[in-house]
Symmetry: C2
Subunit: 389 residues, 2 copies
């Protein structure tokens, strides 16, 4: 997930301030879509705002490929970087913590504190690695429902997510129709296209062909497939940005070298070192098996598959109201993909609001401050909060 | 370069039939843009058709990133796969070998018979590897001019190229204005965008981070960076195809596995195995150092750089007439990039014809049979041949 802009400092009135991640253990086995069960797992989460007496103001944030539980606020007074969606979560912000009780978790299979491939497999006392069960979006939703149970939240005022998070939000509305009043689906899709899958598969190949991947048992071998993960991230990162935004930010500017005739000095473009830096940082902070698992869940997601490939039939089973948002230059999940969601919702006779935001920033736009996006988001959630009685 | 469709068999009237590559040695040192010289190098080329008495009907084909000299015909009677542009070169085809004498070469730095990084460095008696001089598009054009000299061709009736080949064609018109009567620039650009460079750099990182790359000295180590080169090719290949074409050809079709609930069988999409196959075949037939060298030449190309970034000023120095062609779904070199070429040519008061071909096939379209593309191409080159007196 790209860096969000640090819009507020820790002491700002618009910030949720210092937050402390919480960990919840589950010892009841979770039956997964693949047929396997996961027993004795944990989920790390954060909450912002206060649950009201009726427990009717809870909002769930579902994260995208490289996201996690730390969506807003800071982890200490000296922390310079807020959570990844801090621009949209806080007092007076679209997801207004004066009104809502916001829950944000790291999904199972992730690598930021929830049980995942880098966790110890209790049966072997070694890291799960490649033996960790393959997860689907519906498994995340099921585990999020258990977290809701544990927090005493019967019905979410809204389930909200961008990208892969939007897929979870849609799955929530389908899997637990009575538990979702509003569903906010941002820069998402009913399913990946062949091109989307192609990019994911190329990224996975970069990882598994790194000799340090060791068939996924790199932690046991005391190594990390850093190079492969860095290339995977570079591939992904290109698809998060628009051609235009990259051109505006980097163009053909040089970091070093010269095009002078007779000069043998190697030329390096700014975009090259930027991308390599993105790849390297990611490779030091993300687990490769988690990356494989999550991209596979992305590829497999297909909301209408169980309904004869008819998304109208799928959405007919939902009871939520929907807000769908897309961004004009997003080519990873283009506005057409959101149109498909909206058209299916209309076909299913569901309440849906749709906004296509003009933005230069490609898929990343869903994380970045933008006036119209903020207005649309705020207005919709104001309506949601007024019905939290 | 993607496979062209085998439109004709070796004995077909529309085929140039069996062709034999020829090799020419140059012992006069070639001064390169980087300041180094290349002495004692060879170029492999093929010719189709017959040079007329006035030597006025010669056409040069410039190849793209993964192309080579074998553009048309077959290498033996049993050869099932024709040259990469066989759909467009042959008797009665757009580049009509009944009318033109067609020259097609493998560029210096390549790996199909011309001197390149996999050749032996005469000073060390070892493969050049990473020590091979960095080449620019202008160096290729200079070496192509020496080949023209050797073949007795003073003036090309046309210099023709797609993609990186179109960049060579434009550079020809600028570097040797008296030697190019017509310049055909297909699916090309005045320079790469930041996004283009980003894809190339990610591909290069996949190669150089393969431990078998051995800092480019893999041949001396008796190994090959196959995995890295395969990932590089997968990245490139995605950008050659349109999202739509990939969707039409592969969609979300499965090659194996199942999405059934309770099934742990791994799912593989058709697009995944297709891409991996493309990567693997390429890795067995292309030299990694050549790939690095050629993608760098692509990145560095910027026709207007020496002219205050003003392509109008650059094109003012040319004397050729131009045909520019783009394809509607090409997102690697989108129609807008061709518009920039056309607008600069108009600004420079040059004769230019432009066609934007409706096609589903993305950048690859320049290699594939298409009726309107063939018609535009044929009509233009008919005019060229009529002036070959």
């Amino acid at each position: 997930m790209p860096n969000s802009l640090p819009t507020d400092s820790v002491g700002s009135l618009q910030s949720v301030g210092v937050v402390t991640p919480q960990i919840i253990h589950f010892s009841e086995p979770l039956l997964l879509a693949c047929g396997r069960t996961l027993s004795d797992y944990q989920i790390v989460y954060e909450t912002y705002g206060t649950l009201n007496a009726n427990k009717s103001n809870a909002v769930l944030i579902c994260h995208a490929l490289s996201g996690h539980h730390h969506a807003a606020g800071f982890h200490s007074m000296g922390d310079k970087r807020p959570g990844w969606w801090d621009a949209y979560i806080g007092p007076g912000k679209p997801i207004d913590t004066n009104k809502f009780f916001v829950v944000s978790l790291n999904n199972l299979g992730g690598c930021h504190g929830s049980t995942g491939p880098a966790s110890i497999n209790p049966e072997t006392n070694k890291p799960w690695g490649p033996d960790f069960p393959k997860l689907r979006v519906r498994d995340w939703v099921a585990s999020q429902a258990l977290l809701a149970d544990a927090l005493g939240i019967e019905v979410w005022a809204a389930v909200i997510g961008g990208s892969l998070g939007g897929m979870q939000a849609m799955r929530w509305a389908l899997q637990y129709p009575e538990r979702v009043r509003h569903c906010v689906v941002i820069a998402s899709a009913l399913k990946l296209s062949a091109q989307n899958i192609a990019f994911n598969e190329t990224a996975r190949q970069a990882i598994v062909s790194d000799p340090n991947f060791c068939d996924g048992r790199y932690l046991e071998q005391n190594t990390l497939p850093r190079e492969g993960l860095a290339v995977a991230r570079m591939i992904g990162h290109i698809t998060y940005l628009s051609d235009f935004a990259m051109g505006e930010k980097f163009g053909r500017d040089l970091r070093k070298g010269s095009f002078d005739i007779g000069s043998d000095a190697p030329v390096e473009f700014q975009i090259e070192s930027y991308l390599r830096h993105q790849g390297d940082s990611f490779a030091n902070s993300f687990d490769a098996n988690s990356y494989l698992l999550i991209t596979k869940a992305l590829d497999y997601f297909d909301l209408a598959r169980d309904y004869n490939d008819d998304p109208v039939a799928a959405f007919k089973l939902t009871k939520a109201k929907f807000l769908v948002i897309s961004f004009s230059t997003d080519w990873r999940f283009a506005p057409e993909r959101s149109h498909e969601i909206v058209n299916a919702l209309i076909g299913a006779n569901k309440a849906v609001s749709y906004a296509e935001i003009e933005s230069q920033f490609g898929h990343d736009a869903f994380l970045l401050p933008d006036e119209r996006y903020q207005q649309v988001f705020t207005r919709y959630l104001n309506g949601v909060s007024q019905s939290c009685v």
